[in-house]
């Protein structure tokens, strides 16, 4: 059996006395899109921050291609092949679109000589090639979300972590984003771990769906399996009427 | 050069003909002699600066009332105009710079070509207290003197002088400490002196630090028989701030209105009338202007090189600081003075003047 691209083992994270993640196992296989859903406060963003080393877990190990990456600083994690986007868009507002992507192309771990090409290809893939010289501050939210995606791609990662890439987008923009995520997987052979509130989008696109509730993994399976899982329904809809 | 000689430095620049570029305001108009005075009017040194300015303005007023200075080219006497500015770079523009109140040990190594200086040397000033002590009756001479000198160039310059003369005169400092500038709390120094039974104290520090020190000495009950200060104890604020507690304290000075020289008494009275406090400095500044004006008069031109040649190696008699003889390097020496505060007056007792004040030993705080 091939090694999973990203593998999390027994991740536990506490803040003060509060356990936000308790012994979460999760894996993303090559060329897979894995959705991560759960109600507010389930620990999804915390999980991302643990993988990208913004937080240090109390227990547990993160493996990338079978190699342990826990303990490396955030910029190393990126260079090793884990790219991410942010829930509240974090583009470099005073830079142009191309400069934004160049940051990741230059520093993200790929060969320096290829940086220019990687940057342009990433912009091409997300469909922002035409607005490459626009200052980010003047771009729409949807363009900025795509830009973050391009930035993640330009660092030539093994796996991309998407943190609610649909938040604040309208229906057609959501469709566009879905296409971009699929293209990234198909054309680049990437793996994707995707946190989302738009459950329907997750269900349409993902190969597998993991559900967190109160820091505990309550479900892990295909979208079809997830839908009928009573634990998931309860987590989302609250206690059944009694 | 501007910053080199900060501290108490005072000087006058012969500014005539200096191209000032943008700033026409300071440019020499035909028919007058422009003198520049780099005086600190703002910042921590402004207190000295204001005395300097007063003395220079008075000197200019006096010379203009006498009709000005005769200049050959013009064929007549020309009035003098004073321009006060924050800082200027005389050496770099080859303008003659007449200076006082700067220690030769700072000035000489620079080998300035365009300035002349009259002042006392730090060592000669540092010898004063020991000369005074040796003239005291045996019983009054200090057994355990202490030295507090400020952590500044002046303080260190003087400190070295005091140490050298102490050795020469056979005294040992029981406490010898650098004195933190502006620290406001000197109890550590005072406690140390108390613990060492100090009976005489030499201090070199700023006016405000000197006031603070004397106050805290009284609060903490440190009495000495002899307290002699430099730089900080001669200002009028010292007596004003301490009231009768300033009595017996000895200060240095560059000049005294008790000097037996022409114009000294009048100058002192003029200052006291305006500011209601004595001064032991203005004479030096006034004499600075006197020398410069007479040098210009002597050569009859405002050419910097000519005026410089007239000062360097020249003799200027009967200024308000007495006779000045400049050597080939442009330095003339005067004597440092010692004055004792008594009822808010500064009584000159060194160098001794006939029938002058006799120094009194300080009484313990409890008996005053």
């Amino acid at each position: 059996m091939p090694e999973p691209v990203l593998k999390l083992e027994r991740i536990t994270k506490r803040f003060g006395g509060l356990t936000v993640l308790s012994s979460v196992d999760l894996q993303v296989d090559a060329n897979q899109i894995v959705g991560l859903i759960g109600p507010n406060g389930a620990g999804k963003s915390t999980l991302f921050n643990v993988v990208t080393a913004l937080y240090r877990p109390e227990e547990g190990i993160v493996f990338l291609d079978g190699k342990r990456i826990t303990g490396a600083p955030p910029h190393r994690i990126c260079r090793l092949g884990v790219a991410r986007t942010f829930q509240l868009v974090r583009t470099y507002l005073t830079m142009t679109a191309r400069e934004n992507v160049m940051v990741a192309a230059v520093y993200g771990g790929g060969a320096m000589a290829d940086a220019g090409r990687a940057c342009d290809e990433a912009l091409e893939l997300v469909g922002l090639a035409a607005s490459r010289d626009l200052i980010t501050e003047h771009m729409t939210l949807s363009a900025r979300r795509l830009l973050e995606m391009a930035r993640a791609l330009a660092s030539r990662p093994r796996v991309i972590l998407l943190d609610e890439p649909m938040a604040g987008l309208n229906a057609s923009e959501i469709e566009e984003m879905i296409q971009v995520i699929r293209r990234a997987r198909d054309e680049r052979g990437l793996s994707v771990l995707w946190v989302e509130h738009k459950v329907d989008a997750i269900m349409r696109v993902c190969d597998r769906v993991v559900v967190l509730d109160h820091g505990v993994k309550i479900s892990d399976g295909t979208p079809a399996e997830t839908i009928v899982n009573p634990k998931v329904i309860e987590a989302y809809l609250g206690e059944p009427s009694s | 050069m501007t910053m080199v000689l900060r501290g108490m430095l005072a000087g006058l620049i012969l500014w005539c003909g200096l191209a000032l570029g943008l700033f026409g305001a300071a440019q020499a108009a035909d028919g007058e002699i422009v003198i520049g005075a780099p005086v600190s009017l703002t910042g921590p040194l402004a207190a000295d600066g204001q005395e300097q300015r007063w003395a220079y303005e008075l000197a200019v007023k006096d010379i203009n009332e006498a009709g000005g200075i005769f200049i050959k080219e013009a064929g007549k006497k020309l009035p003098v105009r004073l321009v006060v500015a924050g800082a200027i770079v005389a050496e770099k523009y080859k303008k003659f710079y007449m200076m006082t109140t700067c220690f030769p040990f700072m000035w000489s190594p620079q080998n300035f070509k365009w300035s002349a200086l009259f002042f006392f040397t730090a060592p000669s000033a540092a010898e004063v207290p020991f000369k005074i002590w040796n003239d005291l009756p045996e019983a009054d001479r200090p057994k355990n003197p202490a030295l507090l000198s400020e952590d500044t160039p002046d303080g260190h310059g003087f400190g070295e002088g005091f140490r050298a003369f102490a050795k020469q005169y056979g005294y040992t400092f029981a406490v010898d400490e650098p004195w933190a500038v502006g620290a406001k709390d000197y109890s550590a120094n005072i406690l140390k002196m108390k613990a060492n039974n100090v009976d005489a104290l030499l201090i070199f520090g700023s006016p405000s630090d000197s006031i603070t020190l004397v106050r805290q000495m009284k609060e903490l009950g440190l009495s000495v028989k002899y307290l002699h200060g430099w730089k900080g104890t001669w200002t009028g604020e010292f007596a004003e701030a301490l009231g009768s507690d300033s009595d017996y304290v000895i200060s240095d000075g560059f000049w005294s209105q008790d000097f037996p020289f022409t114009g000294s008494k009048e100058l002192g009275e003029c200052y006291t009338a305006e500011f209601h406090k004595p001064s032991v400095t203005i004479g030096a500044f006034y004499a600075n202007a006197q020398v410069l004006f007479r040098a210009i008069e002597r050569v009859g031109t405002t050419d910097s090189a000519a005026v410089r040649d007239a000062v360097v190696g020249g003799e200027y008699k009967d200024t308000v600081v007495g006779d000045l003889q400049f050597n080939d390097a442009g330095l003339a020496l005067i004597e440092s003075t010692a004055n004792q505060w008594w009822e808010k007056q500064q009584m000159l007792f060194y160098p001794p003047v006939d029938g002058g004040w006799q120094v009194k030993m300080m009484k313990p705080w409890g008996e005053r």
Binding site: K198, M203, I227, I233, Y236, L237, G238 | -
Partner: protein, 239 residues
């Protein structure tokens, strides 16, 4: 008909992210209105816009016929809207008693403080026991009670509760909804944001279902509870 609170075509951005598009809704006096929807649907944004913490891009919010747009948050509180924000907004370094006193910060509320305090203590006897303790030392459920108690001190004309059940154990969640029912019985007008859709609909008279910043459905809460479409909207393809 005059509604207590009326929201007209409201659009709001949260930082760079536009979260609400042309939302209209209303709350009538004495009713409990629930706003439900998935994470990120814009529920909290709507509440923050009402209480003045966010400035709308366009649209209007009328409270007792007067606009709230451009009115500073503290002024809106003075007009009678108490907002218990998501995360409760307690002053954790202050004691329980002090938190409650700040609930009566406004001059017109202060005279009634003693009476209101008694009322709050009858609702939450636990708080009375812990009045000298720092708010930060309370358990999650107690903190939520304190936050609601503090808001009630001001005797608001409209009480906004943003996800009161968040992070609480099922037992405490049940107590929370019992409390909401009790407040309803006492005639408090309530605007309730909940993820816990079944309970939220059971507790409410009317409800709005928000989906990606739009009102997807609205109506009688009981009817919505029966409507299979709600679940679908709510959980997307989860059926």
């Amino acid at each position: 008909m005059n509604h207590l609170l009326e929201i007209k075509d409201l659009s709001v951005a949260y930082g760079d992210v536009q979260a609400l598009w042309d939302v209209s809704a209303h709350v009538d006096e004495g009713t409990v209105v629930s706003v439900v929807g998935a994470n990120g649907a814009g529920k909290s944004t709507l509440m923050r816009a009402i209480s003045g913490l966010l400035e709308p891009l366009s649209g209007d919010i009328l409270f007792r016929g007067e606009t709230l747009v451009g009115v500073p948050a503290q002024e809106i509180t003075a007009r009678g809207i108490s907002h218990v924000p998501e995360g409760r907004g307690l002053f954790t370094q202050l004691t329980v008693q002090e938190n409650l006193e700040l609930g009566a910060y406004l001059a017109h509320v202060r005279p009634h403080f003693a009476a209101s305090l008694d009322h709050v203590f009858t609702l939450f006897p636990k708080l009375k026991e812990r009045r000298g303790q720092k708010a930060g030392s309370l358990s999650g459920g107690e903190q939520q009670m304190l936050a609601i108690g503090r808001a009630l001190i001001a005797r608001p004309k409209l009480l906004i509760l943003d996800e009161p059940s968040l992070g609480l154990s099922p037992l405490v969640v049940r107590q929370m909804f019992e409390l909401i029912a009790r407040l309803h019985d006492e005639g408090v007008t309530l605007l309730l944001v909940e993820q816990n859709i079944r309970q939220a609909l059971k507790a409410a008279d009317r409800a709005y279902v928000l989906q990606t910043g739009h009102v997807a459905m609205q109506g009688e809460a009981a009817a919505l509870l029966e409507n299979p479409q709600v679940q679908k909207t709510y959980m997307g393809a989860l059926d």
